[in-house]
Amino acid sequence: MADFRLQRLPSTTPAAALGARILAIALALVIAGVILAFVGKNPLALGLQVVTSSLGSSFGLEDLGLLVIPLILTGLSVTVAQQIGAWNIGAEGQFYAGAFAASAVGLFAPLSGGWSLVGMGVAGAFGGLVWILIPALARAYANVNELITTLLLNFVAILLVYYVSTDAWRERGGVANSATPRIKAEIPEFWGLVHWGLPIAVLLALAMAGLLAFTRWGYEVRLIGSNPAAGKYLGIAARRHLITVMLISGAIAGLAGMLEIAGTVHRLQGGISNNYGYLGIMVAVLARGSSIGVIFAAALMAFILNSGIILQTQGLTTSTVLAITGLILFLTAIGDELSHYRVVRDKS
C-alpha cells in the first residue's frame, strides 16, 4: 500500500508558480462558466465574445493598452514601497493629487506644446510626492503606520478633485458641469488610441527593477525592507532610504494621474482614477514584489477589467463581473500557496 501525502516546500520554482496560476485562472473561469450556465447564459459564447472583442480586434487591444498604463504605474508604486517594507494604500490619492497638479499646469501655466507636457509630468509626479510626504515623514520619524495615513489621504484627494472639477475649475457653459475645460497639451498617440504613456510606464517599471537589482542603493533598500534591524547592524541610513522610497512610490502614482489626464481623458473630473490606485494593490500582490512582474500583472488585470466591460454590454450586472474578478484573484492566491506543495508517496 502506498500512502500519499502533501509536503510543503520552503520555496517554489517559477514553473510551478506559473502553472498554479494558469490552473487557478482556468478553474475560476470554469466556475464562472457553470454559474453563468445556471442563470441561462451561454458561457462559451460569452467567453468567445470576450476574447474576440478584447484580443481579436484592434479596438479591444487599444482599450487594453489604455487600461494597462495606469495599472502598471499604480502597481509599480505599491511594489516599490513594499521593497522597503511599507504598504502604500494611498496610490489612489496620489493618482488624484498628480492629476490635480498636472491639470493645474495644463490649464493655467503659460507653457506651450511639448513644454506644457513636460511641466505637467513634473507637476504630476510632484503632486503624488507631496501627497505621500506626510505619511513618509510620520512613518520615518514617529513610526506612524503608513497604512492608515496613506489610506485616509485618499479621501482628501478625491474630494479635492471633485471640488475643483465641479466648482472652481469647472468648464463654464460646458455640457456636464462636472469637468474642467479640455486641456490642450496632449500626449501623442503611437498606435490607434494608445499614447506614449504606455512605453513610458513599461520603461519606468524596467528602470525600477534595474535600480533595485543592480545598484548599491537598491541592495540597501531590499535589505532594510527584509529586516530593519539588519540595516542598523550595517549602519545604513535606514530612515533616509525609507523616505526616498516612499516619495518615489508617491511620485510614480502621481505620474499615473498625469498620464491619464494628458493621454486619455484630457480633462480633470471626479472619479478619474477608476479605482486604479486600489487596483494597483492587487496588481502588486499578483506581481509578488517583482517590478517586471508588475507589467504582466497589470496586463492580466487590464484584461479582466476589459472583459468586465464587455460582459456588461452583454447584459451581465456589474456585481457578476466583480464576482468573477474576485474569484480569479482569490483562486490565484490559493494557487500561489499551493505551488509550495508537492505530493509525496510514503513507502510502507
Binding site: 509536503q7 510543503r8 516546500l9 520552503p10 520555496s11 537589482a213 543592480f214 545598484t215 548599491r216 542603493w217 537598491g218 541592495y219 531590499r222 535589505l223 527584509s226 529586516n227 534591524a229 539588519a230 542598523k232 547592524y233 550595517l234 549602519g235 545604513i236
Partner: protein, 527 residues
C-alpha cells in the same frame, strides 16, 4: 558525586512510569525520530542527550502531546495512551518546563501558577491565591515569592515558578529542556537538589541537555539520541564524558586547550586596539545597561566575557561594534577616540560582529543567501563598482564564503531563512571573519551548534587570533571560555566584576563573580 540521601527504591516488577516504543516522527524532508525507545522508571532522573537536531525536542513534544507520533506507542504506568493535546498529557501526570518560559510577565507568581488550571477556585482574591501558592511552594520545597511579578524575578526564580506550576498540576514526570542554560552555577546546584527531592518520592525527571558534565552529575541513566535515532541508554555510573561525547556525535571529540599558539602566530600587542573607558550604555528601554565599563582588547588575544545572559552582554557587543551609541565614556580604536558611533565606520576599521540573535539582527531572513553573504562587502569592489551592484560578483563572493564555511548550498537564490540555524551561524561567522582584520566581537558563536560544529567554530576563532586579530568572545559556556580565552572578564548587572588571567583562574571565583561578587571578595584565600 553526591548521592541523594533518600533514594527511591523501585518495587520489583513495577512498570516503568513512562515507556516509549518505536516512536517515529517525520517532517517534510526530515526524519525527526525513528525507532526511538525510552524507558523511565519511578525515582529516576533520566537524561536525554544529543546534539542539536538529534530529535530530543521532537521526542519530548510527542510525550507531552504537542505532536502526535507517526508510529510507535506511548505507555504510561503500563497503559497505552494517546495524547491529542498537552492538556491530556498533563492530566496523565506529564509536565514540561520549556527552555523559553511560558509565563505572563505582567502577572504575579500566584496568578501564573493558577492560570488555566482547573483547580483554581472560581472566586479567589489575590491574597487567597497567594496563600495557596505559598502552600504549594512549601509542599514542593520551592522558594518563590507569591506576590512578586514575573518581571521582578531573576531567571532562576522564574524557572522555579515554571516548575512549581507543573508540579502543582500533579505531574509525576517532569521534563526539563536545558534547564541550566539560564542559571548561575549556584542556581543550578539548587535546581539539582530540588530535582532529587522530587524523584525521591517515586516521581521521575527527564532532563534534556547537551552539557556532558552536568548530565553525569544529575542523572541515573542517560539515553543518547543521534540523528533522530537512539544511540543507546547507559547507566551514568558507567559513563565518562569522552564516552558520552562519542555516543553523541559518533566520533571522538577532543576538548582541548586551544590557547597554545603555533609557531608563526601573531603575538599579543602591547597596546590595546580597542578600548572602552568608563563607558555607560542605555538599553532599548532607556535604562542603563552598562555602568562605566573599562576594557582593553589587544591584537592577537582572546578576551572572554563570562556571565549569565542578560547582564549587559547584548549592549556590550553592540557598543563594541558601533551599533549602539555610548551614553557616556570614550571608545578608542587604535588610540583614536570615536566621536559618533556608526556601524559602517566600525566595519571599515576592521571590526566584525557575530551578533547573538543572528536571524534578527545579522541577517535579512527573506532575502537570498547571496544577498546575506555579501552584507559586509556589498559596497566595495568587486560587488559594487561605481554604484552598480553586480549580482554575478555577489554570487561569486557568496559561493566563496559558503565554501570556506563548509556549508553546502543547493541554491544561492533561496531565502536564507530556509537554511538551518547552524548553517546560518557558520555563514555569518565566515562573513564577519573576512572583514575582522582588527577585532571580532563574537556573541555566543557556538549557540545553536552541535558539538562537531562548535569545535569547527572555535577553531575558526583561534585561526583569526593567530592571524593577529583581537577577539571578544561572549559566552555562557565557561568551558569554552577557559579553553580559548587569554583573559576572562566577568559581567554582572552591567558591571565588570573583574578581569582574570586564564593562567591563574579559579572556577569557583568566576562562579562567585557571575553571581555578583567583586574579584577578591571571596575571602582570605586570595588575600
Amino acid at each position: 558525586m553526591t548521592e541523594p540521601s533518600h533514594r527511591y527504591v523501585v518495587p520489583t516488577g513495577a512498570a516503568p512510569l513512562v515507556q516509549l516504543k518505536g516512536i517515529a516522527k517525520y517532517f517534510p524532508g526530515v526524519i525527526a525520530n525513528q525507532d526511538v525507545d525510552l524507558e523511565v522508571m519511578p525515582g529516576e532522573i533520566h537524561a536525554l542527550l544529543g546534539e542539536n537536531g538529534a530529535g530530543k525536542s521532537t521526542l519530548m513534544n510527542i510525550l507531552t502531546g504537542i505532536y502526535q507520533p507517526d508510529a510507535g506507542e506511548i505507555i504510561i504506568d503500563g497503559y497505552a495512551c494517546q495524547f491529542a493535546s498537552p492538556v491530556q498529557a498533563i492530566a496523565a501526570g506529564i509536565g514540561m518546563v520549556h527552555q523559553h518560559f511560558k509565563l505572563v510577565n505582567a502577572f504575579t507568581v500566584a496568578e501564573n501558577i493558577h492560570l488555566g488550571w482547573s483547580e483554581t477556585p472560581r472566586r479567589a482574591s489575590a491574597p487567597a491565591l497567594e496563600e495557596r501558592t505559598a502552600a504549594l511552594a512549601q509542599k514542593f520545597n520551592l522558594q518563590v515569592k507569591p506576590s512578586a511579578r514575573i518581571t521582578e524575578l531573576s531567571t532562576g526564580e522564574q524557572q522555579r515558578v515554571e516548575i512549581l506550576r507543573v508540579l502543582a498540576r500533579k505531574a509525576r514526570v517532569l521534563i526539563l529542556d536545558e534547564p541550566t542554560a539560564v542559571l548561575t552555577p549556584a542556581e543550578a546546584r539548587e535546581l539539582f537538589k530540588a530535582l532529587r527531592d522530587f524523584v525521591s518520592t517515586g516521581n521521575a525527571v527527564i532532563f534534556i541537555s547537551h552539557k556532558l558534565d552536568e548530565v553525569l552529575e544529575i542523572s541515573d541513566r542517560i539515553t543518547i539520541l543521534r540523528g533522530g535515532r537512539k544511540a543507546g541508554t547507559e547507566l551514568a555510573a558507567d559513563c565518562t564524558p569522552a564516552k558520552l561525547a562519542r555516543l553523541m556525535v559518533g566520533r571522538d571529540i577532543v576538548l582541548a586547550d586551544m590557547r597554545a599558539r603555533p609557531p608563526g602566530a601573531a603575538a599579543v600587542s602591547s597596546s590595546p586596539v580597542l578600548r572602552l573607558r568608563d563607558v555607560s550604555v542605555l538599553n532599548d528601554n532607556g535604562h542603563t545597561a552598562l555602568h562605566g565599563i573599562s576594557l582593553d582588547v589587544r591584537a592577537g588575544e582572546i578576551l572572554g566575557i563570562a556571565g549569565v545572559a542578560g547582564n549587559g552582554q547584548r549592549e556590550l557587543s553592540q557598543v563594541l561594534t558601533g551599533t549602539r551609541p555610548a551614553a557616556t565614556g570614550v571608545i578608542e580604536i587604535d588610540g583614536h577616540a570615536i566621536a559618533h558611533a556608526n556601524a559602517a565606520d566600525f566595519v571599515r576599521r576592521g571590526i566584525g560582529h557575530i551578533p547573538e540573535d543572528r536571524l534578527h539582527s545579522g541577517l535579512a531572513p527573506g532575502l537570498s543567501i547571496t544577498a546575506n553573504a555579501v552584507m559586509r562587502e556589498y559596497a566595495k569592489p568587486p560587488v559594487t563598482i561605481a554604484g552598480i551592484f553586480r549580482p554575478r560578483a555577489a554570487k561569486a563572493l557568496a559561493r566563496q564564503i559558503a565554501s570556506v564555511a563548509d556549508v553546502a548550498i543547493p541554491d544561492f537564490a533561496m531565502p536564507i531563512r530556509n537554511l538551518s540555524g547552524g548553517n546560518q551561524q557558520r555563514l555569518v561567522a565566515r562573513r564577519e571573519m573576512r572583514i575582522a582584520s582588527k577585532i571580532l566581537v563574537a556573541a555566543y558563536p557556538s549557540r545553536g551548534l552541535d558539538v562537531g560544529a562548535i569545535n569547527t567554530m572555535l577553531r575558526y576563532i583561534v585561526d583569526l587570533r593567530n592571524a593577529g586579530a583581537g577577539i571578544v568572545l561572549i559566552s555562557e559556556e565557561l568551558e569554552e571560555l577557559l579553553n580559548l580565552s587569554d583573559r576572562i572578564a566577568v559581567l554582572y548587572e552591567g558591571r565588570i566584576m573583574g578581569v582574570l588571567d586564564n593562567d591563574r583562574v579559579d572556577i569557583d571565583e568566576i562562579g562567585l563573580m557571575m553571581g555578583g561578587r567583586l574579584r577578591g571578595e571571596k575571602g582570605a584565600a586570595h588575600g
